[in-house]
């Protein structure tokens, strides 16, 4: 896959950080932030602030623990 130098836009616009709703049960939303190999995308790709990126990481890892998301795609 070609490397994208430009960050993708945040899914809820720039106001996402004001009202983060990251839940490990919202699989369709979390899967948008996984690469084809099921790796967590970097902040550069997600466009999240540091706090929201941490919450995203935590939510994805909780979903992985419950086998809702794969460790390796």
């Amino acid at each position: 896959m070609a490397f994208r130098s430009r960050p993708i836009s945040p899914p809820i616009g720039s106001k996402h950080c004001d009202d983060p709703k990251l839940d490990y049960k919202d699989l369709a939303y979390l899967q948008r932030f996984l690469s084809p190999q099921a790796q967590i995308l970097s902040r550069k790709r997600t466009g999240f602030c540091a706090q929201c990126q941490r919450e995203l990481k935590q939510a994805i890892k909780r979903a992985r623990h419950l086998a809702l998301l794969p460790f390796i795609g």
């Binding site: 490990y24 049960k25 909780r62 419950l66 086998a67 809702l68 460790f71």
Partner: protein, 174 residues
């Protein structure tokens, strides 16, 4: 008392046998350690992203319960020892989400019927062919050893015979 959100993966074989009993596994474990279950419902039945304990499918039970923090360790120990609970995740939450109580009550109603889990969570390999394959390999290995031992013996003997024959021929010619 602290409010917790718990997600539990239940073995489909237990769910298929008796849903009320499977759901009771979680509720009983919480009440055993002095907690009270606010809501408990079937969240989903789905294919796992990776097999857990040989199971490819499992039923997810979402529960909100109040429990003293001292009881969490005992609850974790019981869940770890239980073979029916494949995985669990317990998180401290501020409040029960809206609509959760209604969904739980709807499930507890008399007319509620949940879809029976499919049967494709059986282990792939049956235990019977494994010993047969091993026995074949062992017998094959023994045969190979015997062949090797025969093979090793023959050239030496043949060589010795050949040599003796050559000597005899030389003697006869002389």
């Amino acid at each position: 008392m602290t409010l917790y959100e718990g997600m539990f993966l239940l073995d489909n074989q237990v769910v298929r046998a008796d849903w009320a009993k499977a759901k009771g596994l979680v509720s009983d474990a919480v009440t055993k350690h002095g907690g009270t279950v606010a809501t408990a419902r079937r969240w989903d039945e789905r294919k796992l992203c990776y097999p857990i304990a040989g199971k490819k499918r499992a039923t997810y039970v979402l529960s909100y319960f109040e429990l003293e923090s001292a009881g969490i360790a005992g609850l974790r120990r019981d869940l770890e020892l239980s073979e029916s609970v494949l995985r669990y995740l317990m998180l401290r939450v501020e409040a029960i989400p809206e609509g959760e109580a209604e969904k739980s009550e709807a499930e507890n109603a008399e007319g509620f019927s949940f879809p029976v889990p499919p049967e494709d969570d059986e282990p792939e390999a049956t235990p019977e062919p494994r010993p047969a394959k091993g026995a074949e390999k062992e017998s094959a290995a023994k045969d190979a050893d015997e062949d090797d031992s025969d093979g090793e013996g023959e050239p030496v003997m043949a060589g010795a015979d050949d040599g003796s024959d050559d000597d005899r021929k030389q003697e006869e010619e002389a």
